[in-house]
């Protein structure tokens, strides 16, 4: 009673902490702290969306009129560009004239957009500071680019990461389900008792191998294999991740489906056999339908494991945050992103919080999956009575 209360409280606290930190992403401006964006004082633009800023600096937007301003070509300016316009002597030995020169340059260039540090902002700055909108949840979820440390503006699109996660998991389950089901059928219906007593602990042992070892195995064996079989430039692909995850999900799928199949009442199997049905007919007409809910639960729990897996996937998928179009492309999953980037993200910063927001998304996905398991197993047990 006490321990279960303590467990529940801990879980609630962790989830609460996760969401509080994750929500921080949506309350901050996606510009690095201590930096600002400024335009010429006569420029009518007041506010820009993060994505617009990015397009400007990527030179996809080249004229202010595209943003509803004057017909004026956009001139990009970053702090380091100042040396193109002024000599080192003019800037001063210790860059003491930096603020004044930046101010001067911005004032005389009507189409400018300047990105520089707060400390170079002149006291009576003549330009106009731009306001940047906060990241919206929709943008966060649908954005296709993940450059959380990009300058001048961080790109927090997690679509590629969500896709990466789902692709790898889907591929894994596609591989693991038929193999797992076949193994479960063999163990519960065909293997002799002695064979089963040897094989089952071995399979359960698979679940106990540390995931980094699976990752290592994938890196050394599967990745080169994929590279040579498909003739790819690199073998670190979604497929490699799927294969490693499939191996990791197998013990879950096999043990749960096998347990479910073994609960098929003997009377049902005997009834089928006594009617002249063959062993195989009995397996797929009686045993599998009867244990369908258990098999589904095993498969979904297997997916759950695959979605949350970090280390092995991190090691073999190539970690390119792009939307994968085939399983033979590198991709990056949510857990791998969190593991790889959390160490580099400044505590409490935007990047840090965005990783927590990713954690929230992952939590919601696995939560839904577990709910699905509950639903399926409950419906299954209901049906049998």
């Amino acid at each position: 009673m006490l321990s279960s209360a303590a467990t529940s409280i801990t879980v609630v606290l962790i989830v609460f902490f996760l969401f509080i930190e994750g929500a921080g992403v949506f309350t901050k401006k996606p510009i690095e702290e201590g930096f600002l964006l400024a335009v010429h004082s006569t420029n009518p633009i007041q506010k820009l969306e993060p994505s617009q800023v990015k397009d400007i600096f990527d030179q996809k937007i080249t004229n202010w009129k595209q943003l509803g301003g004057k017909n004026e070509p956009i001139v990009l300016f970053r702090t380091e560009d100042i040396t193109e316009f002024y000599s080192e002597a003019e800037l001063g030995e210790n860059f003491e004239h930096f603020p004044a020169k930046i101010d001067e340059y911005v004032s005389k260039t009507p189409g400018v957009i300047a990105f520089f540090s707060d400390k170079y902002k002149a006291k009576n700055f003549h330009g106009k500071e731009l306001e940047i909108n906060k990241i919206k949840i929709f943008e966060f979820l649908s954005g296709e680019e993940w450059f959380p440390t990009a300058q001048p503006i961080a790109q927090m699109g997690v679509k590629a990461l969500i896709y990466g996660t789902l692709w790898v998991s889907f591929g894994a389950i596609l591989l693991a389900l038929p193999i797992g089901l076949a193994a479960a059928i063999y163990l519960s219906e065909i293997a002799r008792k002695r064979t089963r007593n040897i094989l089952k602990p071995l399979i359960e042992l698979l679940a106990g191998i540390p995931s980094v070892v699976y990752g290592f195995f994938g890196l050394v064996v599967i990745v080169p294999l994929i590279q040579s079989v498909f003739g790819l430039p690199v073998g670190e692909t979604g497929l490699a991740g799927s294969i490693v995850l499939a191996i990791m999900a197998l013990p879950t799928i096999i043990t749960i489906s096998e347990d479910a199949m073994r609960t098929t009442p003997r009377a049902m199997k005997e009834a089928s056999l006594a009617l002249g049905a063959s062993h195989w007919q009995t397996i797929y007409k009686v045993t599998i339908p009867y244990s369908a809910s258990g098999i589904t639960a095993g498969a979904i729990l297997g997916i759950g494991r695959a979605i949350g897996e970090t280390m092995a996937v991190l090691m073999v998928t190539g970690n390119a945050a792009i939307i994968p179009h085939t399983l033979l492309a590198p991709l990056r999953t949510i857990p791998a992103t969190i593991a790889a980037e959390l160490g580099e993200a400044a505590n409490g910063g935007l990047h840090y919080q965005s990783l927590f927001a990713l954690g929230c998304i992952l939590f919601l996905i696995t939560f839904c999956i577990n709910m699905l398991v509950e639903l399926v197993t409950n419906r299954g047990s209901h049906k049998k009575h």
Binding site: R192, K193, P265, A267, M268, K269, E270, A271, S272, L273, A274, L275, G276, A277, S278, Q281, K285, V286, P289, Y290, K383, K384
Partner: protein, 250 residues
């Protein structure tokens, strides 16, 4: 010629011998009751006749069982075909978690009959044969679990009859049923006798007396006495049989 002929059967579960030198033959279109106290081997014997004991690991059989003159334990015997010819009804009603119709059609479908018309015909005939048609004709699509225990057992008999066996094995078919359902099943057995050779295991002396033509008394894995039912119940030749029938033990 006898329909079923077993000679010198010894049967072992691992180290334990369950049947000792049992020889027993049954004529076509008769009902044979197997009686005896629990653990005497009567169910084991019954399950040898459709090779149901094959499902149990680590068993061993010596002796021979012939059905229609064919050794059913010969190497070239197709077990699935044997079981089509030798239907079985179990102690507890065990319908599949399917509709009433699908339960009876199951045996036909697994035996490769795909013609819907034939399936429907046979299902209806079989359900009529067990006198269940009037009770279920409006709910063939409903789950078999909605039927009462007695109806379920009759459905299981219909399911066995649908594949047109010539022998019907019944393993205590009424032990889980109330007296009314029991008497319905007994009437049914009496009618089915004209078409099928029936072997029934029962714990109920009166039932054995009512439905069977011949009775075999098993004790401790041995066949003690086998004779016409009338003789067994009125003038048994063995003392053990008499003691059991009169209720002095068992």
């Amino acid at each position: 010629m006898h329909k079923i002929e077993s000679k010198n059967i010894n049967f072992y579960y691992g180290e334990t011998q369950a049947l000792h030198d049992v020889s027993l033959s049954m004529k076509e279109n008769t009902v044979t009751a197997l009686i005896g106290p629990s653990g005497c081997g009567k169910s084991t014997y019954l399950r040898l006749l459709n090779r149901m004991n094959d499902l149990i690991d680590n068993t061993n059989l010596t002796g021979s069982i012939l059905i229609d003159g064919q050794d059913i334990y010969a190497k070239n015997t197709n077990v699935d075909d044997l079981r089509k010819n030798v239907g079985m009804v179990f102690q507890k009603p065990n319908p599949f978690p399917k509709s009433i119709f699908e339960n009876v059609a199951y045996g036909l479908k697994v035996n490769g009959i795909t013609d819907k018309k034939i399936i429907e015909e046979r299902v209806i005939t079989s359900i009529e044969q067990v006198a269940l048609w009037g009770e279920v004709k409006d709910k063939l699509k409903k789950s078999a679990f909605e039927l009462s225990g007695g109806q379920q057992q009759r459905l299981c008999i219909a399911r066995a009859l649908a594949i047109q066996p010539s022998i019907l094995l019944m393993d205590e078919p009424t032990s889980a049923l109330d007296p009314i359902s029991t008497s319905k099943i007994e009437e049914l057995i009496y009618e089915l006798k004209n078409k099928y050779t029936i072997v029934i295991v029962t714990h109920n002396m009166q039932q054995a007396g009512r439905v069977s033509d011949t009775t075999a008394f098993f004790y401790m894995g041995e066949l003690i006495e086998y004779d016409k039912t009338k003789t067994i119940f009125t003038k048994p030749s063995q003392k053990q049989t008499e003691d059991y029938i009169t209720g002095r033990f068992g």
